[in-house]
Amino acid sequence: MATLTIRDALNQALREEIIRDDNVFVMGEEVAEYDGAYKVTRGLWKEFGDKRIIDTPITELGFAAVGVGAAMAGLRPVIEFMTWNFSVLASDQIINHAAKMFYMSGGQFKVPVVFRGPNGSAFQVSSQHSHSLEAMYANFPGLKVVQPSTAADAKGLLKSSIRDDNPVIFMEQERMYGLKGEVPDGDDFTIPLGVADIKREGTDCTIVARSMTVPIALQAAEKMQAEFDVSVEVVDPRTIKPLDIETIVNSVKKTNRLVIAEESHSFASVGAEIAYQIMDGAFDHLDAPIKRISTVEAPMPYAKNLETLALPDVDKIVAAVKEVCYL
């Protein structure tokens, strides 16, 4: 096993899939000659050339549409959004075309495209560039939504996303590109979509976290163990859609308590959906109302101190865990 950053794990996944399948190509702003705005595509243009790694003008709607068309024609495009904030410009292609084509063509056209890039907050990029858009895309049937939180998950899930015949919304996190983790060797390592991962086993309380809140939840779990002798289980769904609710239900049946930690705003969030599904599937097992920690319902402030206050953190999650444990 090699220890890689999430950035390099993603790079490996792209490289291996480009080699594995001639139909795979990468397209986006600055992905080729500049090696990508966040260096996820570093070295790929030099190795594979103009046909496989393609720089585009600043035209999100245009290159997203080229991706959808190429996928319909049989290729497997990986379309990079410099950040998911810019995908809003291309959302008509994603929602009205990529997500609907297979259904509306009566199954004649599948759309095996991957849209990928960083999602959520970064470092003081303010209100227009800090969106967590997973709930929006997860709301549309026809799209799969993936949010990895470790290097291994990033590599294994990206490879599965590229091989999947459906359009996949693949959401990374800018703050996490440098996070290191062990990644299994070998070109064949993949992680199936729709399977949650228990990042830490516990018996007293479940935290469902994804993307950036996974490492924060793990720290909160350590703190609960050390200071309150409370054993916290951290479940990472990894794939938002399809959601592996069964793993979460089983965890809640064991712990009887649930805290959901997410970087998006709270209203109509993925956490709200999980809370509903737990109510549906594990109501009789709950010992306390479900608590949720989200980003505050306000545009992201630019000021560093306010940005910190707006986002989920260890203390907020610890407070929520204490509340559901009646401590």
């Binding site: 009887n256 109501f283 009789d284 097992h285 709950l286 010992d287 306390a288 009646y326």
Partner: protein, 446 residues
């Protein structure tokens, strides 16, 4: 479908009710178990609650208006429904319930329930057999899974889903578990503690903790045939005096020992839990009654009813008159429990919040005017009880003991007896026991 909401039977003796206050207004939606109005009955102000949800479409009887049992007092249904036909019907027959099988609604013993089954009351009807659940309890428990008990009070019991499940699975009565969660929510750890033995004790524990007796409902009884002689006695005495041939027996009781015992007990209790002389009198009367079944009885014409426990009615003066809340099974209860119960009942009585089963069905009554400076008086029997004692104040009096004049606290007690069951000697023997209990309070320990 819109329906008439009929005046329910809210007390065992109620024949009509006066709307004290509408809690809901016309157009308001309500849910099952929500209070729609407060109704003054012959004894108390009762909450009238809905059995199913709906909307209050039209109020037919306003505040202050009186309706007979089974008379329409409102129309309920879905918002916006056409109720003109119902209004016409109400106007033409005065709102009486349409007699579907020739029944006379006003005389029904059950609350008149229309087809939609709308009426439930928080009142519990008097149950004559000990141990049988009251109506309210039956209704409440019917709506929850078997094995889970909930308190039949107005207050909802708050239980987390997993705690409710664990309690049901393990046969734990949630009424015996105190919740440690917010608002007293019973949570998993409370059940775990109950399972491991010790139920959590409330944090407001006081010195006079007692385990509540498991007395449910009124005393059980046995009916035995009235002897020929007793029938003749009953008939002749009634002819001579009136419906209840009453006679009176007065006894003088030295209360010094009781006062000393009370002082001793109260020294160990906080102010809120202190017991009164009257609490001790209730206990002494209850224990004496068990020794004298003819006094703890009721003349029923063809039978004489003997009660198995002493349910003591304690007369409480309220603004509009007098009511006698009942301490059930006082012979089985300790002084702390009796005291707490009387305080609770008296508070409810003054707020007119007593439920019918809390003021009916006593087997014997006590009226105490001692605290109002009365030395001696007679009380009127509360039928069908056989007797009542009128208790005067304990007054310092010079008496002769062993040739010496000493000061003693003397209390006069006069018992009114129903001569149809209680003869002079029977009553006297009861008072002897009662006097002995109070003069030698240690006898109550037996």
């Amino acid at each position: 479908m819109a329906e008439k909401f009929l005046m329910p039977k809210l007390s065992p003796t109620m024949e009509e009710g006066q709307i004290s206050r509408w809690v809901k207004s016309e157009g308001d939606a309500f849910e099952a178990n929500e209070t729609l109005a407060e109704v003054d009955t012959d004894k108390a102000t009762m909450e009238m609650t809905a059995l199913t949800g709906g909307t209050l479409l039209k109020i037919l009887k306003g505040e202050g208006e009186t309706a007979l049992l089974g008379e329409a007092i409102a129309i309920t249904g879905k918002k916006g429904e056409d109720i003109s036909a119902l209004l016409t019907e109400v106007a033409s027959n005065g709102g009486r319930k349409a007699s579907d099988a020739g029944g006379t609604p006003a005389l029904q013993s059950e609350p008149p329930v229309s087809a939609g089954g709308q009426i439930a009351t928080t009142a519990t009807s008097q149950s004559n057999v000990g141990g049988s659940p009251t109506q309210a309890e039956t209704r409440t428990t019917a709506s929850v899974p078997s094995g889970i008990s909930v308190t039949p009070t107005n207050g909802r019991m708050i239980v987390s889903p997993i705690a409710a499940r664990m309690a049901a699975d393990n046969g734990i009565d949630l009424r015996n578990v105190s919740g440690s969660g917010p608002n007293g929510r019973i949570i998993k750890r409370d059940i775990e503690e109950a399972l491991s033995g010790g139920t959590r004790t409330p944090s407001s524990a006081t010195a006079n903790q007692f385990t509540p007796s498991t007395i449910v409902g009124a005393s059980a009884f046995s009916d035995e045939p009235t002897s020929k002689m007793r029938q003749v006695i009953a008939g002749r005495l009634a002819e001579s005096i009136g419906p209840i041939p009453t006679f009176y027996l007065t006894v003088e009781i030295e209360m010094d020992n009781v006062l000393a015992v009370r002082k001793q007990i109260n020294a160990n209790l906080d102010d809120e839990s202190k017991i009164s002389v009257n609490d001790i009198i209730v206990k002494a009367a209850a224990m004496s009654l068990l020794k004298h079944p003819w006094v703890n009885a009721s003349y029923q014409d063809k039978t004489v009813r003997f009660y198995e426990q002493a349910d003591i009615g304690v007369a409480v003066a309220i603004d509009e008159g007098l009511i006698t809340p009942v301490v059930r099974g006082a012979n089985l209860k300790g002084l702390a429990e009796i005291s707490a119960e009387i305080k609770d009942l008296a508070t409810k009585a003054k707020a007119k919040k007593l439920q019918p089963d809390e003021y009916t069905g006593a087997t014997f009554s006590i009226s105490n005017l001692g605290m109002m400076g009365i030395k001696e008086f007679t009380a009127i029997i509360n039928p069908p009880e056989a007797a009542i004692i009128a208790v005067g104040g304990a007054i310092q009096t010079p008496v002769v003991r062993e040739g010496q004049i000493v000061i003693r606290n003397l209390m006069h007690v006069t018992m009114s007896c129903d001569h149809r069951v209680v003869d002079g000697a029977t009553g006297a023997k009861f008072l002897q026991s009662f006097k002995q209990m109070l003069e030698q309070p240690a006898m109550m320990l037996l």
